[in-house]
Amino acid sequence: MIAEIGQLALILAFLISIVQTVAGFVGAQRRDPSLMALARAAAWMQLLFVGTAFLALAASFLINDVSVALVAQHSNSAQPLIYKFGATWGNHEGSMLLWVLILAVQGASVAQFGSSLRETLQARVLAVQAVIGVAFLGFSLFTSNPFLRLYPAPADGSELNPLLQDPGLVFHPPILYFGYVGFSAAFAFALAALIEGRVDAAWARWVRPWVLASWICLTLGIAAGSAWAYYTLGWGGWWFWDPVENASLMPWLMGTALLHSALVLEKRGALVSWTILLAIITFSFSLIGTFLVRSGVLTSVHAFALDAKRGVYILGIIGGLTGSALALFAWRAPMMRTGALFAPLSREGGITLNNVFLLAATAAVFLGTFYPVFVDLANGAPVSVGPPYYRITFVPIFVPLLLLVSFGPMLNWKRNSWREVLGRLRWPIVIAGFALLLATMVFGIAWVLTAGALALGVFLIAGAAAVLVRRWKLTSGGGWLRFVRTTPLATYGFVLAHAGLGVTTLGIAAVSAFQADRVLNMLPGQRVALGGKEITLESVLPVEGPNYQATEARFRVVGRWGERVLVSQRRFYRVSQTQTTQAGIGVSLPGNIYVSVGDQNPDGSIVVRMWNHPLVDWIWAGAFMMAFGGMLSLADRRLRVGFAAPALRPSAQGAAV
């Protein structure tokens, strides 16, 4: 019964999104207030019905209704409650339902908060969002219906992939999806603006919070996924250049570019068509990400559904949405007003350069990810180009970009002189130079590249701090407390985000250069040294989990700052007959000790692999700082004022200059 309610709700949502499309487009064209009101109401109805469908599916999982095929395939009565719930989106059909749910949430919020928008623009945004809704609800209904029944119903279900049975599953996909789908709002705004033929500062001020919110979610989602992989895959890697990771990295890179170019559009009215194009491309990369995971066109650890029919459908969606968007762009964008002029050395120029580098980095990742598909056309079908490729393509593009980050905020709008800029960055440059010298002296000349990377991280942090120093007028002395108070939240936001990038850089540099590992057979009582710490295997015992059996090894780690106990498990999941490794991780600021056990030998010894990962947590701490910086910026009053202001300021472009 519950599943049928969900099914019906999903069908209704599909029909409503068709209504929303037509009402939005026609209503805006005819300037018909009642049709446009209908589009807004439809957005709410869509949320209501998609929400109902999602709850129905979640309920089916929670009560373990195995007569629903999806539940039978991915859940089991012995599975802990939280993973029954998480299993709702831990599979293809359910995750697509989550996708449309988030889309519906955004549609409803445009309908709710968009009252200050031009009514026709709002209606068109809603219509474009509804088109996306039609496409994905149709995808869900016609190729991956989550509510199919099984007859006769099995006695119990099989199991959620054990690798997914982790608290990470509960947070990682929804946050990431919020990020992916969030860019649909920017996409819808871009298309609506192209149709209207009008882009102004008010438009940018409206789009930026959406982009920022998506970017924050994507940042957190990627960081959470990376941390999750670090502790569950049991081999201590934090980034694998896996196609699906790349699929989230590409929209993040483009979203970062969009975030900055929208800033130029808002403040200076420049980069108009460029920003629109970025909005289209960013969402297209979200779509491509979906295509990648769902089509089986590439091999990936994430690929949980390989189905060519679905691939064709999603490819159709990409072709339809991105294709028509880019065609519309080619047709309408040349007619748009061109932006204000600026000198090459100016904040606009800096941001343009930032965009160029981000675009190049995205292209490198894109080629690496799809290289197998491209090569397949020429000869065979390969599988993975791996880190060697990205080391020589992505890294050389990204390092100069990181070097530029500190320059951006020190530039004035319109024009600048090198002397001025370098003068403002005097101290960060001195500090970073000192860091480079010190690191080279400590680690030796052979490690000069690592020293350079560490100095780069220091430069980013110092450069961010210099923004505050300048803002607070610390050097001129007196009354600086007042400036601390009057500094806008958005400034603190980007300072924190740029500094976070530096922290992440330090983490990546340190762990890439200095991680150390050992593999050995250990007997209980045996002791080894790693990374200045002494690690003793205390015991190896069998334990029983709710739906698995495990061999549990306990280690005592004694370091300079005291001692701690680490537990690593080798788990065997009975229902799906799979093994997983739970690593034991000793987290600390200077670095982690990571132990993971393999199989037990007949003589009672156990295979142990242990790593010392210096500064690895800084990678995620930096990502969190970036996301938190984004949140501060989002909370800034100016941005909120921007929400309500456009209606009162029709000539907003003039006012923003």
């Binding site: 880019l326 065979g380 692999r609």
Partner: protein, 177 residues
Amino acid sequence: MKRLVFLVPVALFAAVLLTFAIGLDRDPSRIPSVLVGKPLPAFSLPGVRSRDSGLSSKEFRGEPRLLNVFASWCVSCRVEHPVLLQLKQQGVPIDGLDWKDDAAQGARYLAQNGDPYARAGNDRSGRTGIDLGVTGVPETFVVDGRGIVRYKHVGPIQPEDWTSIIEPLMDRLRTQS
């Protein structure tokens, strides 16, 4: 002229879309190698594990063997690994080619995840990989008793690949030699 610039994105996109459409039509693990039916290209590689004396193309004589290309940095290989271990238990002779990888890293990978290989060679520069037409990892070659490549499998070997394609082929080759 300026209009043409705005057409660039849509043209590029059309090209990418076409590629995807064709790519989707192809089974990512079908038999594509030009090497099939030809002798294994000559190579002689240093070993991976301390007990290895190396891996040479001359050693593919006598019985049919599998040559599995792997790397410690390869994610898909970890998916395939349990299958290889199972095959080893069934007595299938498998040799490993550690592609574009540090030998020490490769040895650690095997020590940690289990070791399915009879012999293993390290192809650090990737030269042998080029000769073999390796475009990514994992890939697996079926080499018969006379050193002739009979089949190339691209991507992780799934249990059904083994039972439906590779095992029957190996059985046939074994009776021939």
